[in-house]
């Protein structure tokens, strides 16, 4: 047990932070811990958490995915356009758009792994290209409202539980299995720790890298569709916030931004922390500008705690 704690110190820390933050928020607004409020917090956190799933994989592998916002946007807008408010088309639109997200991820991954393009450049470029495509496609006009089925997925409930929370739970399970219980996870951590050592050990480095970006494309596209259901409509720019929050959730969750460490379970706590922070805002009567400042400060704080722990480790590594 104590071995588990030291090994996953940063993840445990993230959950501790989440609890503290919950209590602090409850102090300022006593109604915060109510069932209905917790429910809406979890729903909001789920969107961050789902986008951050792929991002977690990418970051553990030593990369970063900046194309998240417009993959999300594109999926949302194209879905709304293709469905025209009807449920039926979803049976082909959803798989199509998930595949689309995967293809964008594939392009990112191949660019990074096969052609050696730095991840920041590669994913930034796909992001901008997608943005351009969507602007051309829609001419900036508003899109029809979201199909009812999608609205059910994102705001509906089953037995009192938000559907999206259940989806998130299922995804968390899958991600945890992949990271902790599958060969893929070992390969991924090895890749992020040292690409050279991984290569020399026979790890399929290129394939593993590509898979992380594919996962990120998938989760961003999926989140885009769900988010349309939540807001009832798709609109340009709805994904913008998720670039920052997806990366921040991973960092708060204890992953090193340099790769090789972290876990999706940490990211889940990170997504919760960020969302609770947002909930603290009305309670403290902070402006949205102030929110951004708090956001930024929290990231700085957690990342520096993380890198402190990292530096400590580095110091302990041997020089024989």
């Amino acid at each position: 047990m104590s071995a588990f704690l030291t090994r996953n110190r940063l993840i445990v820390l993230a959950y501790a932070g989440m609890v503290v933050l919950l209590l602090v928020t409850a102090l300022f607004s006593p109604g915060f811990l109510s069932v209905s409020n917790m429910r809406s917090t979890v729903v909001l956190a789920a969107f961050v958490g789902i986008v951050a799933l792929g991002q977690t994989f990418v970051i553990i592998g030593g990369g970063i995915d900046l194309s998240v916002p417009w993959v999300l946007n594109s999926a949302a807008i194209i879905m709304a356009l293709l469905c025209g408010g009807q449920d039926l088309p979803l049976i082909w639109v959803m798989p199509l758009l998930l595949a689309g997200g995967a293809v964008i991820g594939l392009v990112n991954g191949v660019g990074v792994a096969r052609f050696g393009v730095p991840p920041i450049i590669m994913t930034l470029a796909t992001n901008v290209i997608l943005q351009g495509l969507i602007l051309v496609l829609t001419g900036g006009s508003p899109t029809p409202s979201a199909p009812a089925l999608i609205q059910f997925l994102s705001v509906g409930r089953i037995g009192g539980f938000p559907v999206i929370a259940l989806i998130w739970l299922a995804l968390t399970l899958v991600a945890t299995l992949l990271l902790s219980k599958a060969a893929f996870g070992r390969h991924l951590y090895a890749l992020g720790t040292s690409a050279t050592v991984a290569e020399f050990s026979g790890v399929p480095t290129a394939r593993t890298t590509i898979l992380t970006y594919v996962a990120s494309g998938l989760t961003a596209a999926f989140a885009g569709m769900l988010l349309t259901g939540y807001s009832g409509q798709a609109y340009l720019g709805m994904g913008d916030a998720y670039l920052f929050t997806s990366i921040a959730a991973v960092a708060i969750g204890g992953a090193s931004i340099l790769g090789g460490s972290g876990h999706y379970l940490g990211t889940v706590a990170g997504a919760m922390v960020l969302t609770i922070l947002t909930g603290l805002l009305p309670a403290l009567n902070l402006s949205s500008g102030a929110l951004l400042i708090v956001y930024g400060a929290v990231i700085l704080l957690t990342v520096s705690i993380g890198s402190e722990a990292f530096a400590g480790l580095g110091g302990r590594l041997r020089r024989n």
Partner: protein, 500 residues
């Protein structure tokens, strides 16, 4: 009076005792060897002396004054500098920038005075007769041996009274190692104290005035070098008598060819090599460093581009990357040269390192079985006697020799029967070296085929069945039987190529 006196020094890391009771004293003007098994605490001791880590208990006196450095700068202020292995160098900086890092000569504007830096670098290299080294080369382009030499220059740049060399010869080829030994004597003659750590008894014999022996974190003996025999030293180091370092060389090679290589080239360093490695054979690869040995090993393993034909167990193969080499029993496995850069995930556990190449073998229906993995890891840790607190200890915190054992274990787990061993005993203590040689012979007897390079020539002479000597990227000669000798290898390495 003694320059350094250490009493009862101790250091623990969590539950692991690195040093329990180290006692040590050394005078100015001597070369003082520090000996001990892998994990005995030598590196920990010098890390404390050089201010890199703090001790828990005991006392250190330097010049009779209490000494407890808070960091390496404080140690340096007292005239103590240590040469660690490649780790403290920065790959993006040039040789000279590394040598003077944080101590760069300045102009009156406070900027780095490049001219002065170059002048001082050349003067330093000249003064100690360094092997050829271009000051403006970027460090990442250097070989392991060259990086080690830069590290030595960096230590000397501080003009220390006490210079500590931790296994500095282990990464050096013969000629450079000789240079370092001479340099060590010269430094002692200048009145400095050199603390010298090495697992090569011959080197210790050649230069040490006195020696101190550690075992399990405590000092077991200190001797004048000429008052004690090799056998006694080894016995005190490992706590038992070592009958022989090199196993008996019973020929086990069969007629079956395990690895046949034709017209095999890679880059500009390896041109059109032909040879055959037989089942049950240990084939040595020797010659002066930089004549294609590294390229041969890397290219065979798929870690470097190559042209030519390769046959494994009679079947032509094309190995474009290490993944295609590591295909189980019929594949090829490598113990790479650079253990930190290519061999080990330093921030991951011994367990994760050991099983990284074969993790797929522990999955059932796609899910890992930790039990199966742990059993296999435990077996390997016991088999190689890897000294780790638990298999969860981070590989980077193991002693150097134990890191090497982990890499060896990782290679064995791949089950490949063609093994490429590039300096597999680097940094390994005498006792374990003997075990590794025995293991190599045992594997050969079981039908493995081993290509073996060592920077320590006697190892080639005593362990290999045949020795290929490389020169300018070609095989200059292949020595067999009684022709295998150090002189024979050297002659072939230096003379014009003759038909072998």
């Amino acid at each position: 009076m003694d320059l350094v006196t250490v009493k009862g020094l101790s250091k623990r890391y969590g539950g692991i005792v690195a040093l329990s009771d180290a006692t040590f004293s050394a005078r100015a003007g001597e070369v003082h060897a520090l000996l001990g098994e892998n994990g005995a605490g030598k590196s920990t001791f010098i890390q404390i002396l050089s201010g890199a880590v703090r001790h828990d208990g005991g006392s250190i006196l330097v010049d009779g004054q209490d000494y407890r450095p808070a960091n390496p700068d404080a140690a340096q202020a007292r005239g103590i500098a240590a040469v660690f292995q490649e780790l403290s160098l920065i790959p993006d900086l040039s040789v000279e920038q590394n040598i003077w890092f944080r101590h760069e000569p300045r102009t009156w504007l406070g900027t780095v005075n490049r001219g002065e830096m170059r002048r001082k670098t050349l003067a330093l290299l000249e003064k100690y007769n360094f092997p050829a080294l271009r000051p403006d080369r970027e460090l990442r382009r250097l070989t392991l041996a060259e990086r080690q030499i830069v590290e030595i220059a960096k230590g000397l740049a501080k003009d220390p009274r006490i210079l500590i060399l931790d296994e500095a010869t282990s990464a050096l080829p013969a000629r450079e190692a000789d240079w370092l030994l001479k340099l060590t004597r010269q430094l002692a003659a200048e009145g400095r104290l050199v603390i010298f750590i090495s697992h090569r008894m011959a080197e210790v014999r050649a230069i040490a005035d006195r020696l101190t022996i550690f075992r399990n974190g405590a000092t077991v003996a200190a001797h004048d070098a000429n008052a004690v025999s090799d056998n006694e030293i080894v016995a005190q180091m490992i706590g038992r008598h070592l009958d022989r370092l090199y196993p008996e060389r019973v020929p086990t090679a069969t007629d079956r060819i395990a690895l046949r290589v034709n017209n095999f080239s890679s880059g500009s360093r390896l041109s059109a090599v032909d040879f055959a490695l037989r089942e049950g054979e240990v084939l040595g690869v020797g010659g002066l460093q930089g004549h294609g040995q590294r390229e041969l090993f890397q290219a065979l393993f798929g870690a470097a581009r190559a042209a030519g034909t390769v046959e494994l167990w009679g079947k032509p193969v094309s190995i474009g990357n290490p993944r295609q080499a590591l295909i189980g029993r019929d594949g090829i496995a490598l113990v790479p040269e650079d253990r930190r850069g290519q061999g080990l995930l330093l921030t991951k556990s011994v367990r994760e390192n050991l099983t990284l190449s074969v993790i797929n073998r522990f999955t059932e229906n796609g899910l890992l079985s930790r039990q199966k993995e742990s059993d296999m890891v435990k077996e390997m840790v016991d088999f190689l006697r890897i000294k780790a607190g638990t298999p969860e200890q981070l590989a980077g915190t193991l002693s150097g020799g134990n890191q090497q054992k982990v890499i060896f274990g990782k290679m064995l787990l791949t089950q490949a029967r063609v093994l490429l061993l590039y300096d597999p005993t680097r940094g390994v203590d005498v006792g374990t070296k003997g075990e590794i040689f025995q293991l190599m012979r045992d594997l050969a007897a079981k039908g493995y085929a081993i290509l073996f390079h060592s920077s320590d020539m006697p190892e080639l002479v005593h362990v290999a069945d045949r020795v290929m000597v490389m020169r300018n990227g070609r095989i200059a000669a292949t020595l067999e039987g009684e022709h295998i000798s150090e002189e024979g290898i050297l002659r072939a390495a230096m003379l014009e190529t003759r038909a072998a």
